[in-house]
């Protein structure tokens, strides 16, 4: 079959060593970073806290307080410090943080005054993960509990009463999605669905960028090398030439999607998953709850709310992803036909990238449905928006918006394909060009 011959040629052109190497490198890097984050966070979020503490008060009360901290499984390093040159204290002792119990701490408690507690933390960056290992705030709450306990004892409050005062109310969180409800907090749901909601937009954005670049360069190169003229004068239909190009690009895009999906899943489970486990660990420490059972029950509650995606949902998302790629391909064919060199094709890519960037950014930070009406219509007019918000719409029961989006995308695809095919079947594929200010080569040599 001549079409298979064309398809094989297009695939060979697209799947080259550079592409395979870059794909593998990206995937390995994403997986490695994900694993690195998991291990880093696991390391720093161990329940056994290493605390550097300076007891300048040195009273029976502070000593008993330190004993209690040790009993809770914390490793405490006592350090002698003086003065308020905190940078010097951290540097001298090679520390990242320290808690200082100042002189007069116990006296203040005895006088029913507020005692002071000094904390010193080193900050080296504003990155999300960079300050996770700093447990100062957790230690101060433990010390606060100790003072609370001491004061309660002095006031003759029993342990039972104290326990009750510490946790005087059981909060039963309920969340409603559409007409379904489950006893789970919004925060827990957010932590669980964040990963699913964030992977697809990233994949879609990367694919749009890559697919457009691929097909535009392919068309531009064929025009520049005049291999397109050779192909179009051969006994094959123009539709099969364009069809082979689009199918090959779609196959390569889907192949990339799989690789990126694996890489990003690993990356996101490394970041989001570990952050979640950190928060669970914090809860375990302070409230003594959190277990595998809780995680399983969270999954059950999510599906109770209809927030777990079914196989049909995934197939629908896959279909939408495919339509998105095809829209991108047909627009890129039109844009690719307009350029006469690869540099210009990069310039022509910008409007398409902006169309992808707007819904991508919106989907990361906001819900499109909650935007002001005018802006919402504008964002929904961009066909890629519907893919970025697909999972969210399916999860939260906005089935009508999803279906309308899908129908809109099919219409956009039909229109784009119509123009792409029309362009390819006309003289314009060889004669049309935007030269970005350059002199038309055809006008002086090719007529």
């Amino acid at each position: 079959m001549k079409f298979i011959n064309l398809l094989k040629k297009e695939l060979k052109e697209l799947i080259n060593t550079q592409m395979i190497i870059s794909l593998v490198v990206v995937m390995v890097m994403l997986m490695a970073v994900g694993n690195l984050m998991t291990s880093t966070i696991n390391e720093v979020s161990k329940t056994e806290y290493k605390i550097s503490l300076s007891d300048r008060d040195d009273t029976d009360f502070t000593k008993s307080m330190l004993e209690k901290l040790k009993e809770n499984g914390n490793v405490i390093t006592l350090i002698d410090t003086q003065g308020d040159d905190y940078a010097g204290i951290l540097n001298e002792n090679n520390l990242d943080s320290i808690v200082i119990i100042p002189e007069g701490f116990t006296d203040a408690i005895d006088k029913n005054e507020k005692p002071q507690l000094i904390t010193v933390s080193r900050m080296e960056s504003a990155a999300m993960m960079s300050n996770i290992g700093n447990h100062v705030s957790d230690i101060t709450s433990l010390i606060r509990s100790c003072i609370y306990e001491e004061l309660s004892q002095r006031a003759g409050i029993s342990d039972e009463e104290l326990k009750y005062m510490n946790n005087p109310v059981d909060i039963i969180d309920n969340t409603v999605v559409s007409d379904k409800s489950a006893s789970i907090s919004v925060d827990t749901i957010m932590n669980n669905v964040m990963m699913k909601n964030q992977i697809l937009p990233i994949i879609v954005f990367v694919l749009i960028m890559m697919v457009s670049q691929m097909i535009m360069s392919a068309i531009a190169n064929e025009k520049i090398d005049k291999t397109l003229e050779t192909l179009l004068s051969a006994p094959v239909s123009r539709s099969s030439v364009i069809g082979a190009k689009m199918l090959a690009a779609a196959i390569v895009a889907l192949l990339n999607a799989v690789f990126y999906m694996i890489g990003f899943s690993s990356f996101m489970s490394g970041t989001v998953g570990s952050t979640m486990s950190t928060s669970v660990n914090m809860e375990q420490l302070t409230e003594g709850i959190g277990s595998v059972g809780d995680i399983i029950s969270t999954e059950v509650k999510l599906s109770q709310l209809g927030l777990s995606l079914s196989v049909t949902d995934y197939l629908l998302v896959g279909l939408q992803l495919f339509i998105t790629i095809m829209i991108c391909l047909s627009i890129s064919i039109i844009l690719g036909a307009l350029v006469n060199d690869v540099k210009s094709s990069q310039t022509m890519l910008m409007p398409l990238l902006m169309l992808a960037m707007v819904p991508y950014m919106v989907s990361l930070f906001a819900d499109v449905n909650s935007l002001p009406a005018g802006f919402r219509i504008l964002v929904y007019a961009i066909p890629f928006t519907h893919t970025f918000s697909a999972i969210s719409n399916l999860m939260f029961g906005h089935d009508l918006i999803f279906v309308m989006g899908l129908v809109y995308q099919v219409i956009v695809l039909a229109v784009c394909m119509f123009f792409a095919l029309r362009l390819f079947n006309s003289d314009k594929i060889l004669t049309i060009s935007l030269n970005f200010g350059k002199k038309d080569k055809r006008s002086n040599s090719d007529v």
Binding site: N5, K12, T227, P235, D446
Partner: protein, 246 residues
């Protein structure tokens, strides 16, 4: 004599300008016909219409009995086209390129092998065919493309500026191949060139084209005699001047 190509008042209009205006000529079996003229004369437009790449505004061209207007797909089965300054897929090996192009003309694997073998014999690139085209010199690429254009034994091979940008030896080699294929195998060629001295050597008949008009056609020696000129360049000059005067 059997006509392989009959061009009948072929015209192409871009906006308000006629790039080709009522161009008419024909080519016999085994004949090498050259369209000569300066850059922008309308050679490539005429050739592209015959190669079914552009749709004529009016007129027609009939290749081996098939009209480019009504049966472009039938025409494509009878012709091959080598564009001016054409390249090939740089990431492909020479041999892969030949197989790929042969596969566009037939689905019979035995015939594909025959076409490729023929191309190998013609281009003489030998083991270099196993190298990527990106490593080829300009002359090697042109030889590869010429062999591709003639390997399927088309009724009409259309070659746009077949030797442009090549050194003397490579250009000579290509001209010899064209002459041999026409003489020994009866293949017809439509060439275009702005190098009139080269055309004098290779073509049987020429057509002088300027500003979209085909001014005159004839055998080289006839034209030289008719215009009392020592070479084609001077024939061209006199033809253009004569047409400007009238």
């Amino acid at each position: 004599m059997e006509k392989v190509l009959e061009v009948k008042e072929l015209s192409k209009k871009y906006s308000k300008v006629f790039a080709a205006d009522k161009v008419s000529f024909d080519i016999d079996k085994g004949e090498i016909f050259a369209l000569i003229g300066p850059n922008g004369a309308g050679k490539t437009t005429t050739i592209r219409m015959i190669a079914t790449l552009l749709t004529p505004t009016s007129g027609d061209a009939v290749v081996a009995g098939h009209s480019v207007v009504n049966e472009p797909s039938k025409v494509r089965e009878c012709i091959t086209y080598l564009p001016d300054e054409a390249g090939a897929y740089k990431t492909m090996k020479g041999i892969e390129y030949l197989k790929f192009m042969a596969g566009l003309f037939t689905t019979d694997s035995r015939q594909i092998e025959q076409f490729v073998q023929r191309a190998k014999d013609i281009n003489g690139l030998g083991d270099r065919l196993n190298d990527k085209i990106g490593t080829y010199s300009r002359g090697m690429i042109r030889k590869l493309l010429l062999s591709r254009a003639v390997m399927t034994k088309p009724k009409l091979a259309i070659l746009d500026e077949p030797t442009s940008g090549l050194d003397v030896l490579n250009a000579l080699d290509i001209r010899k191949t064209i002459k041999r294929l026409a003489a020994e195998e009866g293949m017809s060629f439509l060439l275009s060139s702005h190098n009139m001295l080269e055309i004098e050597f290779v073509s049987d008949r020429v057509g002088i084209i300027a500003k979209g008009h085909l001014m005159v056609t004839g055998r080289t020696d006839e034209l030289k005699q008719r215009y009392n000129a020592p070479n084609l360049e001077e024939v061209f000059e006199r033809v253009v001047l004569e047409n400007e005067i009238h």
